[in-house]
Amino acid sequence: MSTCHPLQKVSPLPALQERPILVALAGQPNVGKSTLFNLLTGLHQHVGNWPGKTVERKEGDFSFNGVSYRLVDLPGTYSLTANSPEELIAREFILRERPDVVVAVVDAATLERSLYLVAELLPLPAPVVVALNMMDVARQEGIQVEPEVLQAALGVPVIPMSATRGVGVQELLETVERMARGDLPYAPRLPQIRPDHREVLEAIEERIAGYVPGPYSGDWVALKLLEGDPEMTRMAREALPPERWEEVHAILRAHDDAQVAVASGRYEWIGRMVRAAVTRPRIGQIGLTERLDRWATHPFWGLVILAGILGAVFWLTYTVGAPLQGLLETALVRTLAEGARDLLSGAPAWLSGLLADGIIGGAGAVLTFLPILVIFFAAMAFLEDVGYMARAAYVMDGLMHLIGLHGKSFLPLFLGFGCNVPAILGTRVIESRRARLLTILLAPLVPCTARMAVVVFLAPAFFGPAAPLVAWGLVLLSLATLALVGIALNRALFQGRRSAFIMELPLYHLPNGRTIALSVWERSWAFVRKAGTVILAVSVVIWALSTLPGGDVETSVLAQLGKSLEPVGRLMGLDWRLTVALLSSFIAKENSIATMGVLYRTGEEGLADFLAATYSTATALAFLVVQVLFIPCMATVAAIRQETGAWRWTVFSIGLLLGLSLLAGTVTFQVAMLVK
């Protein structure tokens, strides 16, 4: 802009002698603009609406050092790109009313965000004074902003202040007055468009020169046209002769990436300002998080740590949970079953059978692994609360990219660890149909909590102290299968297209007992509810099928069904009971345990001990392998049908998992027999 000749200082601008200095207050929301406005104008405010808009217009009068001011509070905006009525009002006011000074209120604590607006204010035809507000807040957060450096970098006056405390207001007004009188040099450093687009900008400027109506300037309109500003595009189309507009339009069409080039220039500019004037803290919590993340999110060590933590969770779950489960089985299930038999000794045999074997033996057996689950849930909630789970997701995503999987697929798959149903519904975040389909097909291979619950119960029963290792191996097997199937399907469906995913990891923090307790309670209660409804119902049905027609399990309907499938089961070392247990897991995964509880009618011995004594290691291992890879539960299959919208994909998914699980089970059993 202009600096004044010394002579002009003696006689101030005539306009200013007659009217108050017109000051526009600009800034994004929540930077203390209103505080400053109220502080300056007090009771002398007029509130109305901007002409033709429902946006509130506030202005007020005040005087300071004998000088009158009229202050107009522009709507709070982040930019001036005519995206909203507020942005348009702020811009049009400065262009048409030409305030003597624009005070840009910026937040010293979030300078980047505030400076974007300043980058857009500087090219407008009104001098800008930057009110660097919230200096106290920035200082509290350890952010050091140097106003003199910022002033030198911006080329406009920068006044440090803290409007809530009234600090710096006097200096601001003095500067505004001097600026309005032209007593201050004003040489703003403007953001520049990216060099490769400078010629394009000049080409447009040339073509619109002479046609741009006031109050707009040619270079500003050219920039806005490149940005795709709807208002300026409309204005230029009307103001330019048709053939000229066609030329301009052709240039714009050929450079549809210009918007990025213009914004890019502004970000470069903001980056330079911030690098020059701001020092941020690099100590304390941020430092700790960064130090931990150097390992926890490392492409290799991150995976090793994840595997280690997972192993530790299983070890803790089994070491503490398994004895409690045993205790509950002895104290609760057996006592209750015996009590029920005693109580109903006079009643019909079917009634005591239903209660003792069906309900208590089935749903009761499932309930006994509540302590194991509580510990498992608590460990997971702890990891979530300290901020580790986000890292686990991050390193898993890195792995997925390594094996050529679609990046967006990771989020829904991650949800699958909780439950496969939300994982499949969560694939809605993926737009590409093929990517979505692939993710839906892979989701059931993520071991959900219900599958893990079965593993957590059966692994100690079969393998004793080696249980954590087996459980850990089963999780790795699931994920490895997922990776291999992913690679195969990805090759077939995607031809290795790339995608990016950006996420922010929360800071590590101390766990909150209440949050963890709440999470454990919610998940445990959900499990108990399931045991009391779906699992109870299935237990009763399994009991009925295993009792009818003659009352003997061996000749029951269920036995006949199981035995008809025995040839397949035998490949994996499974007898008809284990086969039926596997089939019942289709209703809900936990039913495997409930079914075993009903079928074995173990009474005194306890289910876990009975299983350990009955089945070989090879059979046990094969059963667990099939269990984790088997067809998902009914709810998941329904979700697959709903989200793929096609039975053929639902059937494909079932077929794929059935084939995979039977193959893996057979291989496991045969290899285990050979090793033995």
Partner: protein, 76 residues
Amino acid sequence: MLDRLLELLRAGGTHRVSDLARALDTTPELVEMMLEDLSRAGYVKPVAACTETCASCPLADSCIPAQPGKAWTLSL
């Protein structure tokens, strides 16, 4: 700077805002602003916030889509 950010994203892979900031020699705050800008221009998409489907999900609180603006994907 915006174009360099886009280049980094187009190379694929998973990125953290802090890593992108380091690569661009700027602050995470500015990277977040640029992502919002790219999102307005349709280059990236914020990962959809949780809908009612998630309400019953026990993992909803820890799930990344539950924290709007924290995760982004490249629009393909």
